[in-house]
Structure formats: C-alpha cells, structure tokens
Subunit: 224 residues, 2 copies
DNA sequence: TCGATATTCTAGCGCAAGTTAGAATTTTCG
DNA sequence: CGAAAATTCTAACTTGCGCTAGAATATCGA
C-alpha cells in the first residue's frame, strides 16, 4: 500500500540512501509546506472548526482526501501549523535577542521583523486558540507560547534596567501587545493600502511613545 | 401549539394587556438573558462553530432543544449576542462622550468603564469574527462596529486637536487598541489575581505614557 | 384543585464534515 | 517503453450537531 510511505519521514533521511529518491521527496516536502501554509491561513481566518479540509484542499486545487497523504488528520495538520508559526516567532525572537542592544531597541526590532515576516509568510497562528488540540498537544503549544512570552517580558525587564523602558508589569504589557499582534493577523490582510511602515508608525505612536500629548495632564487621576 | 407563543414579543407589550401575564413573561425574559449571556461567553471562548447548542444549554442545566423556545436557531442566538455586546459598547461610548473632557480623558474613562462592565457582564463579542452570520446580519454587525470604531477615532482626533494626544493615524491606532481589548476578553478571565486596576495601569503604561523610558533614544532610527 | 398556559424533555431526522479504502492517474527511473 | 512508486481521486462510511415534532412536566390564574 503506497499510503504507508509516510513522506514525513523523508525529511530526516536515513543513512546510505541514494541521492535520487531525494528529488521526489523534496517535491513532496514542498507540497507539504504549501498545504501547511494554506491551512495556517485558513484556520487563522475562519477558526479551526469552521475551516474544513475541503477548504484547505481547494486552496491548492486538491480534493480533501489528498491531504491525508501528508497529514494523518485535521488535528495533526493544525498542530503542525501551530508549531510552524511558533518556530518563526521564536527564530525572530532569538535573532533579535542575539543582535543585542537596549531593551527598547530589541522590542522595536522584533516588531519590525515580525511584520516583515508576515509579508512573506502570511498570517500566522502565533497565540490565540488551541483548545481544539488534544491534551498533550495543547499543553505543548501553551508551554511554548508561555516561554516565548517570557522572552518578550525579558526585553521589557532589560529595558527597565537600562532605562530605555518605563516601569510596568511586563507580563501584562506583553499580553496587551500580543493582543495587538493576534488581531493584526486577522485584520490587516484585508486592509488595502496598508504598509508595514504605517503599522510600525502606529505601534510606535501607541506603544512606544504613548498617546499622551504635550498638554496631557501628568497624573491620570486628573481625568476623574 | 404552545411553541408559537414566541416569548420574544412579550418584551414589547401591546396595549390593554392585563398586568398579570407580565409576571410570566418577565421570568421568560430573565431566562432569555441568561441564555444570551451563556451563549456570549461560550462563543467568545470557543468560537461559533465549536460552541454547540448543547454546551450553551448545559451551562444552564438545560437540554439543547429548550433553547429553541427562546431563539429560532443558533445563528439568531449568536446575532443577538453580537447585538447585545455592541449595545453595551456603544452605551459606554455614548456616556463617556457626553461626560465631556479632553480626548485623552475620554479615552481613559472609556477603557475604565469597559473593563468595569466586563466584570459585571463577563467577556463579550465586541468585534472579532462574524463570518458565520449570513450576509445581511454580518453587514449589520460590521457596519455597527465600523461606526463604533469611528467614534473611538474621534476621541483621538479630539485629543490631537486639544493637545492631549500625540499625532497618529487614528484608524490604525484604534485597531491596535481593539486588538488589545478582544484578546483581553479571552485571556484575562482565566488569570487569577488580576484586577481592573492592574490592567488599567498596564494600559496606561503601554498605550498612554508609552513604553519609552528616560534614556530612550529620541528617534526610533537610533535602534538600527 | 383544576384547567390552561408556559416550559422542558425525549427521540429522532438530515446533513455536513472528517475519515478511510481502494481504484485511477501521474511521475520516476532503469 | 514499462514497471514500480508516488500522488490524487471517487465513493462511501461514521459521527456529531443543528434542528423538529410531539409528549411530558411545571407554573399559574381562577
């Protein structure tokens, strides 16, 4: 039965294999990537339950059954999607961290890099809902997102230490920013004329410099 | 057939009705409210497709079929939920606007009022997904949210005019804030020890005063 | 208490979507 | 070209859920 071939295994190849089978498997891997990308986009847009296998397959001119050649079931496809998105997120986070600089600079560069990545790779499944996965998968994803959140919080802590970021509760502020980013992946793709630069400017105005203008009353209590 | 009674109509009563039937209908209305509240909470948590009628009914110790005594179908229930949430949102918006003050003050008071409302009435369906509604319902909801967004933008414009808010693109900034609020309704309820005051402080730090601290480089370009 | 009304339940229909089996088709390579 | 492998399709099964019909129970006024 050809179905048992499991092309997934071909990505990590055994020893002593000829070079020829690689040609096939590379094509297979490419298609797997395409399916994954389409799945991420559609799940992000409509939610897991409303995103049907037929929808995802149709995005690549396939029938739903063809997807089961690459993924054992819908959950596994979604799980791979979450992993893929978090890998991206983490890679950016790690690179920005390694590049050094003040806490505020890291934060700025991270946001810029994330938006740039979205242009190339489309909307992602960074955080948000994972309740449709089963226990262990969901725990893995949640633990991963928690680690990433912690890394972001550390940027804020570094900034508070080096004076480039004002005092705040890092955990809460990070969640607020995550909210902005999640909503961005759902909203921004459908907005014509929207550039990353404009988005970055808006984020700069809102989150970095703050909305308060020159005549703002110093204590918030002045508003009553 | 008792089913044709349609208790919905009892909320807007006709003329010349005795006072007695009201007792029943008020109870009916109460239950309708409870169903609506549960539906909003569950749909907000799991999404429309994953939220089953059985889930919603179970939250009130009912069987799914009982819900059809109060709402004709699942879509109508969700639609009523969206309307209810937007009514709340708008009521707060209108009240804050009427109370006057600078643009920044209005924005602050609005956020405070919205968070306070969430404590009493639970997470809401303010913005977010409405793709599961049919054409006209969805358009109505989207038009409504667009109007509310415009009202929020006006707060920013007023603030830019009176000097309490720094220059920015109101439409984009409002979307970013909306993202924070949507995410809040999904995340905050499950966070122990989280108070509205701490959330407001975090929002104040992030969105109002901005994260940039005393040693922050003036131009963002200083980060490279 | 009793009849009428309001409310909820049990049982089941119909359909959409995930999934599978196996046939059909395409691709690869000697 | 021809066989073997890889890929996709057709057709059908299964399950869960929205929804309905009608029976059963609870509530309330008289």
């Amino acid at each position: 039965m050809a179905k048992g071939a499991d092309p997934v295994a071909l990505t990590s190849r055994g020893l002593g294999d000829d070079i020829r089978p690689m040609a096939q498997s590379q094509k297979s891997v490419k298609k797997r990537e395409a399916i994954l990308r389409a799945a991420i986009e559609i799940i992000n847009a409509k939610g897991f339950a409303a995103a049907t296998m037929t929808d995802i397959a149709a995005a690549l001119d396939l029938k739903d059954a063809a997807l089961y050649y690459y993924f054992p079931n819908k959950q596994a496809l979604a799980y791979a999607g979450h992993q893929r998105s978090l890998e991206r997120f983490e890679a950016i986070l790690v690179k920005v961290d390694a590049d050094g600089g003040t806490g505020l600079c890291k934060l700025r560069r991270f946001l810029q890099a994330l938006l740039d990545d979205a242009v190339d790779n489309g909307p992602q499944l960074y955080f948000g809902d994972s309740s449709y996965l089963d226990q262990d998968q969901r725990q893995a994803i949640e633990a991963w997102t928690a680690r990433l959140s912690r890394r972001l919080e550390r940027f804020l802590e570094e900034g508070m230490a080096d004076g480039t970021i004002a005092p705040c509760e890092p955990a809460l502020v990070v969640q607020l920013m995550v909210g902005m980013l999640i909503w961005l992946t759902k909203w921004a793709p459908g907005t014509p004329g929207l550039t990353n630069q404009r988005l970055l400017d808006a984020i700069e105005a809102l989150a970095m410099k703050g909305l308060a203008g020159p005549k703002a009353p110093a204590p918030p209590e002045a508003c009553g």
